[in-house]
Subunit: 910 residues, 2 copies
Amino acid sequence: MPTEYVLKFSEGSRFMRDLLGGKGANLAEMTVAGLPVPPGFIITTEACMEYIRLGRQFPAGLEDEIREDMQALEEQTGKAFGGKSNPLLVSVRSGSKFSMPGMMDTVLNLGLNEKTMQVLIENTGDERFALDAYRRLITMFGSIVLGVEREKFDAILDGAKQREGVADDPELSPAGLKQAADEMLKLVEEETGKPLPTDPYEQLYAATRAVFDSWDGERARRYRVIHKIPHNLGTAVSVQTMVFGNMGEASGTGVAFTRDPATGETKLYADYLANAQGEDVVGGERNAMPIEVFEKQMPQAHAELAEICDWLEHRYGDMQDLEFTIENGKLWMLQTRNGKRTGPAALKIAVDMVDERLITTRQAVMQAEPDGLDQLLHRQFDPTQKPEVIARGVDASPGAAAGRVVFTADDARKAVLSAKTPDEGRVILVRHKTEPDDVGGMEVAQGVLTAIGGKTSHAAVVARQMGKCCVAGCSAMNIDYDKQELEVNGHVVKAGDFVSLDGTLGEVMLGDVPTVDSEVLGGLLDDTEESQQDVVRYFKRFMGWADAARRLGVRANADTPEDAATARALGAQGIGLCRTEHMFFDTKEGEGRTRAFQRMILAETDEERDAALEELVPYQRSDFEGILEAMDGLPVIIRLLDPPLHEFLPAEQPEEGQHDEWRRDMAELCELTGKSIDDIRGRIRALHEMNPMLGHRGCRLAVTWPAICRMQARAIFEAACNLKKRGLSPMPEVMIPVVSIAAEFDLLKKYVDEVAEQVMQDAGVRVEYLVGTMIELPRACLTADEIAQQAQFFSFGTNDLTQTTFGFSRDDVEGKFMEEYIDQAILGANPFDTIDRAGVGEMVRIGTELGRKTNPELEVGICGEHGGEPASVEFCHEVGMDYVSCAPLRIPIARLAAAQAAIKEQGTGH
Amino acid sequence: MPTEYVLKFSEGSRFMRDLLGGKGANLAEMTVAGLPVPPGFIITTEACMEYIRLGRQFPAGLEDEIREDMQALEEQTGKAFGGKSNPLLVSVRSGSKFSMPGMMDTVLNLGLNEKTMQVLIENTGDERFALDAYRRLITMFGSIVLGVEREKFDAILDGAKQREGVADDPELSPAGLKQAADEMLKLVEEETGKPLPTDPYEQLYAATRAVFDSWDGERARRYRVIHKIPHNLGTAVSVQTMVFGNMGEASGTGVAFTRDPATGETKLYADYLANAQGEDVVGGERNAMPIEVFEKQMPQAHAELAEICDWLEHRYGDMQDLEFTIENGKLWMLQTRNGKRTGPAALKIAVDMVDERLITTRQAVMQAEPDGLDQLLHRQFDPTQKPEVIARGVDASPGAAAGRVVFTADDARKAVLSAKTPDEGRVILVRHKTEPDDVGGMEVAQGVLTAIGGKTSHAAVVARQMGKCCVAGCSAMNIDYDKQELEVNGHVVKAGDFVSLDGTLGEVMLGDVPTVDSEVLGGLLDDTEESQQDVVRYFKRFMGWADAARRLGVRANADTPEDAATARALGAQGIGLCRTEHMFFDTKEGEGRTRAFQRMILAETDEERDAALEELVPYQRSDFEGILEAMDGLPVIIRLLDPPLHEFLPAEQPEEGQHDEWRRDMAELCELTGKSIDDIRGRIRALHEMNPMLGHRGCRLAVTWPAICRMQARAIFEAACNLKKRGLSPMPEVMIPVVSIAAEFDLLKKYVDEVAEQVMQDAGVRVEYLVGTMIELPRACLTADEIAQQAQFFSFGTNDLTQTTFGFSRDDVEGKFMEEYIDQAILGANPFDTIDRAGVGEMVRIGTELGRKTNPELEVGICGEHGGEPASVEFCHEVGMDYVSCAPLRIPIARLAAAQAAIKEQGTGH
């Protein structure tokens, strides 16, 4: 036989995920190891792909193979599939290499029909059990394989319970179950025009086909596009002898974690339901029994489970999430896989497992989820006081927030304005979805909650930009704007009531839940022995392992000494992007920076212009001193002025409702400059741009007005020289933005070098410095060899590079049509979140290679938001960058992602 | 001697332009051929480069070599340099490989000083002549070599003429000349602190140094950057024995063209000045003698000159522009080079020379200037009635226009509105420079004239976009806005006076000069035997030679049947870009297209949307039928809707002074849609974009609203099927714009294919068609391999590709900082005019190569404005495109440029 389409559990291993799927490979691993696994076999992923290739036809020989393995199973169990004396029942489960929602999952109790059910009743003497199994088969087969709506089956069962006045499934009488099963069979026949198949093999083949079809379905295909899973992997089908947790009180079913997934505590954690089948636990309809009760009631099964868990952790080197069933006191293993866990738990488990010598430090690094670290660094709810979660949505923007519900942006503003204290003015803006008009309300709110939309929705994008907590796509929520109330999962919340949002987890809670600072961040900033709680120590040890493995440097995007200090505490090895825009605006009342810069913009002579700029030097010098001092001994990349000048002037005409403010502003400008209002408006009109993103900004400003560049250079080098004289080691790196032509860079570098030389001569000290450029335009990538002849470093500005490479104005696509592009799977991910390898990544690769060709010493990094996103960090590693730079709180994530990329490259993850 | 820095004229040839410069090589060629060239030698370009390399020092041995060659010259002429009996005088001229303004040009009469001048007086007995030569030396040496302002010398000469009450230089008495020379010597000493050098060798070395220095000067360097001439070519210096055209009435000097440069007539054309030196002719201060008078007065010299011209044309295979001097009746040749000519002349000369077997057809094609054809196709002034040109500026936008002068945009609008007839309402807007506020005035004006700015100035860019005649940078013009008048070269023009502008030549004339249609275009459109004037026949023959040579196809960008017909007459082989935007706007009063499309945009349900679109089908179908019929049998690329939807709606709030119109518009929309004004304004606000260039447009619209794409596809294929049924051969090619992701293209192609299939089935005929994409975003270039898997053609939209590759919003850079970039030589040319090879060109190359990799059948073209610009066409040829597409009137230019590129590639230009 050229291809074997079916393998027994005993013929596989955990290394055969490609062929057997994750679920099948783990069942095989446990079987071979002698663990109590109900026997069975696996129809391979190759069978699935061949089935699809043949236009949804079983390949030749597959049915025979299944029959052969089924017969072997009959021999092994002493039962017969569809047999008249001792019927064999099986379950069918899908399992692909990667866990994938949207795929058909499980059908239990295949092999049952009216006849075998009767035999089952006779053999077990348990009519209720057999009927329960039968109605489950009809429900699952009817809904999953035949496509009848699941709700209709549930309604029949609910009807039966109502008739008998019982609440829980196990309390239903056999007669009630019988009537329900009959009604369900009728439902299937009505909906599909055919009776439910009674032939066991027909049932098995149909279930297998349904699994294969679901692999090729719209929803699964879309999921794979988004998660970049190839379409040609296929799914396997596990066929397994049924064991029954619903055979009475000595039976049951449960899910377990080998350690506590919330805290990481080294202790078996399980949810057990007596007299139930697996789906009951997962469905969460009945309350599970805690592990302590389970241990007391079934000491032997518990002991055996604990031993198995220990073995599994040693074998898999990770915390396991498993499913088991107890049939009349005997433990059976149905599944095992690596378990999901919270950020703090992940940290503790990793460190504990290394100490227990279960895994190496490199394995610990590889197993961690970079985003899991995020939870550790944001403000969060006091875990001791966290109430019940009433609804879940998408974790759209991290953080914790509590406030009174408002339903419109206007109400948000009014509530905040009329509040007597900031504390009283805390509101949560709740909208079906947000639109540009809502932005003002979002700004003043503590957090945002929406009913529809995912991570790329308008609400999500704007909230993340504002650093504001947001839970989006809470689809269970219904908002009645007229009644000014929302309803969610049975809870009614009125305008003015408190709710709390956990943006990190996507959770909604009732009431004003108190928040606490991040323990980890607090501990790192206050780096004394007594402040070091366990989690901080774990964090430091774990990050130390990551640092030992990584090759990429990690810097921070930080504009103030405070941010720089946070970044340094979190492990930043320098600043990759210090924006100077804010240094042109007043930071304190009456400073005069804004007016001075406006005077410079409106100046008509060089003298006026120079005089206005001169006023800014002391302010900027002191800003630069602060940052260079906070980063003493580490490189600090300072970007020269970037935005277009019109951003610093009032609008040409007042917006609605802002006439008075605008007039006051203009009158001041007139007095300041001695110009008429018409002159000033004319200048504003002349500076107006159709597409400011592609306009007169960055280095282009300095080509036109070299004095701006010279002023900033002077402030930088005077600051550095001052520090140097105080014995410090400032390392400024001047970054020229928006370069698309080598001659632009060369000209500005000349200006900077001239000023640096002059300042250092005047000060009598010398400072080491670099001059480089932000690579953020396609042409800069393609002519990087020319630019690198004089540039000493490149920092890829992948935010803007993504905008120009795609032709996507971020303001105009995110929260607008980006969501649609991802829904329709035109894009696998938002390219502003994770770097687009095929386009933007290719630009970066070309730019890096060309740049290094003419300047092998070139320092190459990234300072777009991608620098803190794990998949993008991996790309930066692969492309050979020297460092990534990201927001201070993302630094640990970047350190871990960099370490994982390095270990992955070396192929020594195991 | 390792390097020879000096060559005699007799040692060179016309093929040694690299070493001897153009001027020197041609002098050598004529010398060797035995033509009467005053003897001399050439200091090579290598000497120049070595001089610069050494930090502006003569290389070792150069002075000796010059002395040796000077001695040889003395022997040959029997004169002595600085000699006391028979002094040798020489001229010094610069000459690089390419003609280059900004370089030092000519110094005559070197070797003169007080003593040699006395000898000259004694020898010639002509005091006036000797003094005249002396004052010329002082003027040229003083101004060109020593840098004293030329105007100060001219003022001294003018003073001398005023004193004697004479108008022309030759009328000055010897005493007057003597006094002038003395004053000039005093001027030089005052300005430079040193007397003018009297040693002849010192004079010669200084003049040589000045030539070399000017090669390395700021102005020349900038010119070379702009014209992409390498800096390392260097300039040569020709040193030539003086002959004197100022030795009385039997002497003189002239410039000649071997054929008439204005008409191309085969007839010697010369301007001759008796008793003058070369600079007098070029300066244009004295009126030259026509050739007929010259022939009559000096028959022998004329005959000899005619013979030489004939010889030169045979030798050079091109019309020559030459300088000669007659010294006491003897003819001397001082220079020859290929002559500049008008468009019609170029055509006639090329055809005549081929008929005369002077050149091959391929040489004729190579010698033509593509832009010269432009003149032949635009409306132009009646050549029989063209008056004196009173001023010249930059030929910023071609065409001819006459109108009354207005000085503000407001006055332009008022004049046009208050005029009783369109003819009366013709105005020319005259501004120092234009700004965005002037655009409204430019729109209603016939033409635009500015005092400052070049081809990239605001006025130039906007005028070209409007297809409006513009002369920019007429720097001689002074405008007095208060007095409402302009002054230029002594003419005063008041507001309301007529002026005429020739935008093709950059000329300004007084009065209302009548214009005529293009003879060539008229003849091609009316293609009958009797309509064929000479110029039309020449045009057809010449273009036939070009077509035989070229490999690139040439298509037209045309949106209407009229434009398509013009394009076809001019040789278009199809349409490369038919924009469909205008088809959504009413083309006649009350059509209802605009309102239907606005209703579609404002629709809230799919039904509303579909109903509104349905109304547009008949209109668009009929538009497409017209174009496909005009191009019957040739491919027509139709681009689906491109601009963002907000462009089709009114502004959210009225602009100043347009409240009434806006309210009327909104009220109509409210009635039409049944929506409130607030709803409509809300929708407009939601559609507003920060950077519309990078927003929701092109294929992105169709991803969101497939119905728009389907409606257009239906109209296209219904139109094609209708024509097919009538026996025609429509060849539609559907182009999907703004693609950056292969999946976008694949989705829209699916829509188009589905509609096409349906329409063809309904119609019962089949039409061949292609579906392709406009490649106009960097990401499309880098992922062209993916896109080409389904795309059947690529058309590079290099306008937008230039915008995104550079990050240049065309609206925001042209007429704003682009000019500065070119002035500062940061850019060699405006990348919107000529393709930027290093960046945008590289994108095109990558896109073409990747696309052909997965789809070797891919049809590749360009439809940006570059498709009609010769240097860009050459690039398109090199990169292996199938065709270029350009504006109808640019088609002949593209055909010629394509032919030149092909011939150049084959290396058989000669």
